[in-house]
Symmetry: C2
Subunit: 205 residues, 2 copies
Amino acid sequence: MAANNTSDPDTERRRPGRKRDHDRDEAILEVALDVLAEVGYAGMTMNAVAARARAGKATFYRRWPSKSELVLEAVAQLQRRQGSLVPADTGSLRGDLLALFRPTSPSDAERQFAVMAGLASILSQDLGLADAANNAIVEPWTEANRVLLRRAIGRGEIDPAADVDTLAAILPSMAAYRAMIQRKPFDREFLAAVIDGVLLPAVRR
Amino acid sequence: MAANNTSDPDTERRRPGRKRDHDRDEAILEVALDVLAEVGYAGMTMNAVAARARAGKATFYRRWPSKSELVLEAVAQLQRRQGSLVPADTGSLRGDLLALFRPTSPSDAERQFAVMAGLASILSQDLGLADAANNAIVEPWTEANRVLLRRAIGRGEIDPAADVDTLAAILPSMAAYRAMIQRKPFDREFLAAVIDGVLLPAVRR
DNA sequence: GGGTACCGGAACTGGTCGGTATCGTTTGTC
DNA sequence: GACAAACGATACCGACCAGTTCCGGTACCC
């Protein structure tokens, strides 16, 4: 089993030369997300990202083969940083739902939807990226809502025949629509209107 | 009051030469909407639209000063063609909501959301276009839902304290989200799930 | 019939951007 | 200390595209 001298520099540690600085990876991806949120995929130029990250473009292409691959990994990092989004049990469905939007700082959720809006253009072209964006940004919220609804059913608080899957999609859908098309803030006021005007009335026994 | 010889050729009818063929306007805008729905704003090239419309680009720029102005007017035409979207009274809220998606051919609604998805990239940059798209495509649906809900209240069919504005936004929001991000069809099955699983339970007395 | 503005088509221009190559420098291994 | 790879920076290339200009031809007004 001879040593493989042509493999990835990360797994291969028999080569001379300066080591790749992995701190730069995360920093670059973070800048990419910022630019993406500000100007969208089409408006995001590699030069702009490089300049803001104080990096050379060679540093980019040593890591990712293309712009789209870089963005794909940036979205993956967004998902990683978000964590599992498991909500604390406040005792009532209403409290749980409201609490879901507190722990992550509001600017955090705001940025996620800004990134989503920036990606919107490319979603119709690149199916892989569309899935990645959906899985990274919206699906965790939907899943968290599902958990809360099931918990409320188990608690006997709401109608056990409630259509959990459809109901869980309401808040994320309206948040995405509001952020992307209407460009209005998804604030606590609107959140309360949806919870009290739609969700809770729909599930009462 | 001397005659103004430098004004728009449409309002000014004192000039010689071949008349501008206004049938071309609509045809070009229609092709633009098709291309927009297929490849999005960024992917839509003037050459491609010209080729498919069998028109020279000079014909474009004689009518609209730029690509964005052309798209803006194409969206306005989409709104014009959609009409007022006044729904027939079927006697029940459920019937009314389902009927709302029948009269316009399903491919029509499908195309509207495809255009919206194609526009998504530019919405964050161009506020005017964002408003135009919202007003042309989604707002008419929302307004139609509002009318139906108020009608059901007047009929005594549903809870008169229902939050009409928030409820009316649900179907359009979920349709837009589903078409733009999830790329799943907004079919009758999903429509029925939202109506029976969310809307009707939320408004029962 | 002469003049003019429209038509579709095509060539051209100027700018932008993804990606590559190269520079001098820095950081690591042998 | 010799070598090699990563670093930031910059110049460069090739493709693409919005917008302009020209062409030969056609419809309309006088």
